[in-house]
């Protein structure tokens, strides 16, 4: 990030803070690396609570990233979206939940599995 230096000289004398002023924190810059490929989806299940994803949270998803073993991804299986951790072992793909109440799913061809994008951030609201 390139800091922008502002110089407020309205009062006629230079402010001692002038050399240290930078642009305010930009949340877009933090959360969105590639605007063209970044989307927001809403989590509704509770299979990933162990990863900090709770029902109602916003998932920031980047489609331009290549998913690797360990990435939390949005995928579709049997034509439905799901959010899970992807694991690749010996050429097999697994969708792994982070909640003991849910099973690990080994991907087979009949599931019509597709990777939709990689989750980069989860936004959880605390105060209404």
């Amino acid at each position: 990030m390139i800091p922008l230096y502002l110089s407020p000289v309205k009062a006629g004398f230079p402010s001692p803070a002038a050399d240290y002023l930078e642009q305010a924190l930009d949340f877009n810059e933090l959360l969105v690396r590639n605007e063209s490929s970044t989307y927001a989806l809403r989590a509704q299940g509770d299979s990933m609570t162990g990863a900090g994803i709770q029902p109602g949270d916003i998932l920031v998803v980047d489609r331009s990233l290549n998913a690797v073993s360990g990435s939390i991804v949005i995928a579709s299986v049997y034509e439905e979206f799901t959010v899970k951790r992807l694991e690749i072992k010996d050429g097999n793909y697994f969708l792994v939940p982070e909640n003991p109440g849910y099973p690990v799913l080994r991907i087979t061809e009949e599931m019509d599995f597709t990777l939709w994008g990689v989750v980069t951030f989860v936004i959880h609201r605390i105060q209404l």
Binding site: N34, E35, S36, S37, Y39, A40, L41, R42, A43, Q44, G45, D46, S47, I58, L59, R63, S64, I74, S76, V77, Y78, E79, E80, F81, T82, V83, P97, G101, Y102, P103, L105, M111, D112, T114, W116
Partner: protein, 430 residues
């Protein structure tokens, strides 16, 4: 260096599928304004041989029998996906001409071999980043690139016309499929024994110029591989802000033009306020499609000057709608309208007119509108100015999909697929 035409496959239908994994292999159609006719179809729907442009009511049985999913046009969604795609294309070339909501011309590379690799990369990147499949046609001119794109669509999606296949492609292309040659002209050519693009390319310059004007001659040169039609790429200009798009389907009604132009006005004003400026003039321009020779041609513009510079959206929308009433002519098929803001001035530099009292209420209204738009989406509130004829005119859009990419309340949801619950029950009982 060559010219590429990048064009999305079944764009509206493809957009509708991105956030609907359940529709991935299913036939999908999208309806025109007022839920009238079919304007877009997914490949599965095309296989059902539904004619493009057919009114919905005529194929109700077919829709039900094959469980075709029907959508109203979701321009907000398509506009946003288009924006993303055009941004991605910007990364591949300094010269990008956005030709319509789902097509763009680009100049690519310097060496022949780089062009093709680039084209495959474009196809892959757009698909990965947006989920939209595109075809890329490569050639030495725009007209040839259009033909190449058409060839590409039938195959893997990327096709290049060069010396080795030029003649074969030209012989396979009937004159009516040439970009820039309309029905009347193709009938004329056929009457004169010219049926293919190759035969046309052998015609004499003088003869073509005489019977098809300079436009026809340029098309001829382009077919021969000599670029003769300029790439119109947008240059950022501090003196003017423009917002415009070509229509997917030609617009004939004043209301359609007004609605589209109101959206362009809103877009232009958003750019204006983002630059912290006000504008004193707004110009509306409308035109028919100059490449469709069979259409009667008409283009006109009108400029409205405000008493003082403004950034109040309702002023612009009202001016644009009224200007269109002045310049609109019935009986033409319009390809696009454009809204230009000129005589721009930085907000801090404005000298107030001594004889006008600024209306503070306007600023308050503007802020309230912006707040509502931020919370509920851009289309939740808009300016509807009553106009002559039908003051309660609205557009019917009963099957509108959510504003997945522009409204926090309408995001796509990620739940728990049944497969996980099924397995869950099994593991609990065992």
């Amino acid at each position: 260096m060559s010219i590429a035409l990048v064009d999305c496959n079944s764009f509206y239908a493809s957009c509708e599928k991105v956030f609907r994994p359940d529709l991935r292999h299913r036939p999908v159609v999208v309806l025109s304004n007022n839920d009238g006719c079919i304007v877009a179809m997914s490949p599965e729907a095309k296989k059902l041989e539904i004619p493009r442009g057919i009114p919905l009511f005529k194929i109700r049985d077919l829709i039900e029998k094959h469980k075709v999913t029907v959508f109203s046009s979701n321009y907000t969604l398509y506009g946003d996906m288009s924006r993303r795609i055009m941004n991605i294309l910007d990364g591949f070339s300094d010269e990008v001409e956005v030709y319509s909501i789902d097509e763009a011309f680009l100049t690519l590379g310097d060496l022949i071999s780089d062009d093709l690799t680039c084209a495959w990369k474009i196809q892959h990147k757009v698909k990965q980043c947006t989920g939209i499949p595109v075809s890329v046609g490569l050639a030495e001119s725009k007209t040839l690139a259009k033909i190449a794109n058409h060839m590409g669509k039938k195959e893997k999606g990327v096709f290049r016309i060069d010396h080795s296949n030029w003649r074969a492609v030209m012989e396979k292309t009937p004159v009516q499929d040439i970009w820039g040659i309309g029905r009347q002209q193709s009938l004329f050519l056929r009457r004169n024994g010219i049926f293919t693009a190759y035969q046309f390319s052998c015609a004499e310059d003088a003869w073509v110029k005489k019977h098809m004007t300079m436009t026809g001659l340029r098309t001829l040169w382009e077919l021969r591989g000599k670029p003769s039609i300029e790439l119109e790429y947008e240059v950022k200009d501090k003196k003017a802000i423009m917002s415009s798009r070509s229509f997917g389907q030609p617009a004939v009604k004043l209301e359609e033009l007004q609605e589209a132009s109101a959206v362009y006005a809103r877009d232009a004003v958003a750019k204006l306020t983002a630059q912290n400026m006000k504008a004193k003039c707004v110009t509306v321009y409308l035109t028919t499609n100059r490449f469709r020779q069979e259409d009667r041609q008409y283009k006109k513009s009108l400029t409205v000057e405000f008493p003082e510079p403004t950034d109040y959206l309702p002023d612009f929308v009202k001016a644009v709608k009224e200007a269109l009433v002045q310049i609109y002519k019935k009986g033409f098929r319009y390809k696009k309208t454009a809204v230009y803001l000129t005589e721009l001035i930085e907000k801090d530099n404005i000298q107030p007119d001594l004889f006008r009292t600024p209306d503070k209420r306007k600023d308050q209204i503007l802020k309230a509108v912006a707040d509502i738009q931020n919370r509920f989406g851009k289309n939740s509130i808009s300016c509807i100015a009553p106009h002559r004829g039908n003051p309660t005119w609205t557009m019917k859009r009963e099957k509108l999909s959510p504003l997945y990419t522009t409204c926090w309340d309408q995001l796509a949801e990620v739940g728990e697929p049944a497969v996980f619950s099924r397995l869950r029950k099994v593991s609990v009982s065992s």
